[in-house]
């Protein structure tokens, strides 16, 4: 009982993931600042931002169902937290079972749907536009993203993240076999997180704040937290599926390698944000269905044929 609570609330549950989420946000902002010849925020900035938002008045437009509007970020938060419990960290996994990859990918898409719902519910014009765009974007990146998650599973012959890792223990990291799949999963992750080149649903110059335009105070803070934690879980998942675990049996070295891998992916995410301009939604749909999906299918076919 106490052990379960520890897992749920401290590690790898709530506290650990919140800390990771805040660290992610700070690192992202700091790296982006370095790319842009700025100084960037101090390390505690995401935390004080959050405290400030929680202390603000919580307002919603008239006629919005407050209970549902409050429930949506909580629902997203809980689904991301649950997904985080199943994703192994530095080879350490608690509740691994056959098929948890499917559960994780399902739980990871709930925040996007909740984001869409939030936009539709908020009754603002910009929220409506942002919500619609988030759904359109979802259809563009999710398919190649899921196909590129299937690649490692097929190669390892297992639908559990732990099984995929064990398989990489023997075969070597899957990024060597499926570099294309890794890139597609990376692009899909950017789309999922609505990060800079694909921040179409929340582009401030086009739709002000997207779905979250009308959100304020603690609900907005929760949304930000969800986005950050989703990023952390996504990065962990990407590392587990493609970079694998090298032959280290020493847990300390494994943790160090894991942190280094996280930093590398963070750097890639920030560099992508810094270098590319935002696409239009029709351009993204075009790229998604005409380029990313065929590439993902080709990669999958390659993996299946290689296994035969």
């Amino acid at each position: 009982m106490i052990e379960g609570l520890f897992y749920l609330l401290l590690f790898p549950g709530l506290v650990f993931q919140v800390v990771c989420g805040l660290a992610y946000e700070w690192l992202d902002r700091k790296l982006l600042a370095l790319f842009q010849r700025r100084v960037g925020p101090p390390w505690y900035q995401p935390l004080v931002d959050m405290i400030k938002l929680f202390s603000k008045e919580d307002l919603l437009p008239e006629g919005v169902n407050e209970r549902i509007a409050g429930l949506l970020p909580l629902l997203s938060l809980s689904s991301v937290l649950t997904a985080g419990l199943y994703v192994p960290i530095a080879g350490f996994s608690l509740y691994a079972f056959e098929g948890d990859l499917i559960v994780i990918s399902f739980l990871m898409s709930i925040p996007t749907l909740a984001y869409y719902m939030a936009g539709i519910l908020s009754k603002g014009i910009y929220s409506l536009l942002g919500g619609g765009r988030s759904l359109l974007q979802y259809f563009s990146y999710e398919v190649p993203f899921l196909i590129s998650l299937i690649g490692p599973a097929v190669m390892a012959g297992s639908w559990s993240v732990e099984g995929i890792m064990t398989s990489q223990y023997l075969l070597g990291p899957f990024i060597l076999y499926q570099p294309l799949g890794f890139i597609l999963a990376f692009v899909g992750l950017i789309g999922k997180l609505k990060r800079d080149p694909l921040d179409i649903p929340s582009a401030s110059s086009e739709v002000v704040g997207g779905s979250l335009t009308e959100y304020t105070g603690s609900k907005l803070a929760l949304w930000h937290l969800v986005m950050n934690m989703q990023a952390v879980v996504g990065i962990f998942l990407l590392i587990n599926l493609y970079l694998g675990r090298s032959g280290m049996s020493n847990p300390i070295i494994a943790i160090i390698i894991f942190i280094v891998e996280c930093m590398v992916i963070m750097g890639m995410l920030s560099a992508t944000s810094a270098v590319f301009a935002r696409l239009r939604i029709d351009q993204l749909a075009g790229v998604g269905w005409r380029i990313l999906v065929p590439l993902a299918l080709a990669q999958l076919a390659f993996v299946i044929l290689m296994g035969v």
């Binding site: 921040d199 110059s205 002000v208 239009r280």
Partner: protein
């Protein structure tokens, strides 16, 4: 799909100055738009009639925060024409130097805003960092970054010494390398090109119909530049090329401005090379003889038009200002069709609005 109307402004992340636009959209398609102006109307033309000519220099400088110098230059040139005074050549050169620096900083500011609107914050930050060089030079020689107080009727109020000339030379040279670098990125960044190529093209006929001037006209192949067509000294003695591009789309509007920035940097170097020695100002009487004059000059955004009428007192009887943004604003609703919601920032940025200028 149902038609909805989204408000852009008076306060919107897209706008740096208050302006209200109603854009009708259906899904992601834009059907049309309408404009409402006047949020920063300060009645400057009327105020100018209540103040004397010397006070008006300072009033007119406050029309715009970006192109403040060209306004006073045009005004002073008008008053000097009415007075028929001989302004020292060195003063003209110093004015032109400030005008070109202003053009550089205005175009770089604009480029940063466009980059920000299409999600390229890195270019925004880098370009605005480079723009500081131009602002630093202006601060060094006049003491002001935004409002320079550089002009007076009959000349300018600052003089350059050796150290300042060296500083300007170094700064301009650095700007040159930076702008070449930025140009290299803009010409080759695929996502930026994808966002701007073919967006809201404006034909040369449309430009002439709406009397649009400046970089927007030149991006559509209309070859107008008041520095060459109707030069105020020293532009009649200077060699420079007027950049025009045929396409008329958002990409052409972007490139024209960056090429112009490069041209202005070259002009700065030429001005520093050719500047004659001599006094920088001359004494002028307070009262201006009766008469009227029209002055046209090239502001960063295009032709700036001043009409000045004097009745022989020390106050102008009428001062009419037509800024380049006004014509560009008229073109805006025309451009707000056959585009997407995501193109609205690109189109708005392409116009390079200066609402404070247009409203006065």
């Amino acid at each position: 799909m149902t038609k909805i109307s989204i408000p852009i402004g008076p306060q919107h992340p897209l706008l740096k100055e208050p302006l209200s636009m109603k854009v009708d959209i259906s899904g992601e398609r834009v059907l049309g738009g309408s404009l409402r102006l006047g949020y920063v109307h300060r009645g400057i033309e009327r105020l100018a009639q209540k103040r004397n000519y010397v006070q008006n220099v300072h009033l007119i400088e406050r029309i715009c925060g970006i192109c403040s110098h060209i306004h006073t230059t045009t005004y002073c040139h008008g008053v000097e024409s009415l007075l028929k005074v001989e302004v020292p050549m060195r003063a003209y050169y110093l004015r032109a130097l400030m005008c070109e620096l202003e053009r550089i900083h205005s175009h770089l500011l604009w480029l940063g805003i466009l980059a920000k609107h299409v999600g390229l914050d890195t270019i925004f930050m880098h370009v605005w960092h480079d723009r500081e060089l131009a602002l630093d030079i202006m601060e060094e020689i006049t003491g002001g970054r935004v409002l320079h107080g550089a002009n007076q009727i009959g000349g300018v109020r600052f003089e350059l010494d050796e150290a300042q000339v060296a500083m300007i030379r170094a700064g301009v040279e650095k700007l040159h390398t930076q702008v070449e670098g930025v140009l290299d990125v803009i010409e080759n960044e695929p996502a930026l090109i994808a966002r701007t190529r073919g967006v809201a093209p404006v034909s040369a006929d449309m430009i002439k119909k709406y009397c649009v001037v400046g970089p927007i006209a030149r991006a559509s192949g209309v070859d107008v530049d008041m520095r060459r067509d109707n030069p105020i000294p020293p532009y009649d003695q200077m060699e420079f090329s007027v950049v025009t591009l045929p396409d008329g789309d958002a990409l052409a509007r972007t490139l024209v401005r960056v090429y112009e920035t490069r041209e202005s940097i070259l002009l700065c170097e030429r001005i520093l090379r050719d500047i004659p020695d001599g006094p920088v100002s001359t004494r002028v009487p307070r009262k201006v003889p009766a008469g009227e004059v029209i002055v046209r000059s090239e502001a960063p955004r295009g032709e700036l038009f001043y009409y000045l009428r004097s009745d022989g007192t020390d106050k102008p009887a009428r001062l009419k200002i037509r800024t380049p943004t006004l014509a560009a604003l008229c073109l805006l609703p025309e451009q707000m069709s056959a585009i997407q919601v995501a193109d609205i920032p690109v189109v708005l940025a392409g116009v390079d609005l200066c609402v404070a200028c247009a409203d006065r």
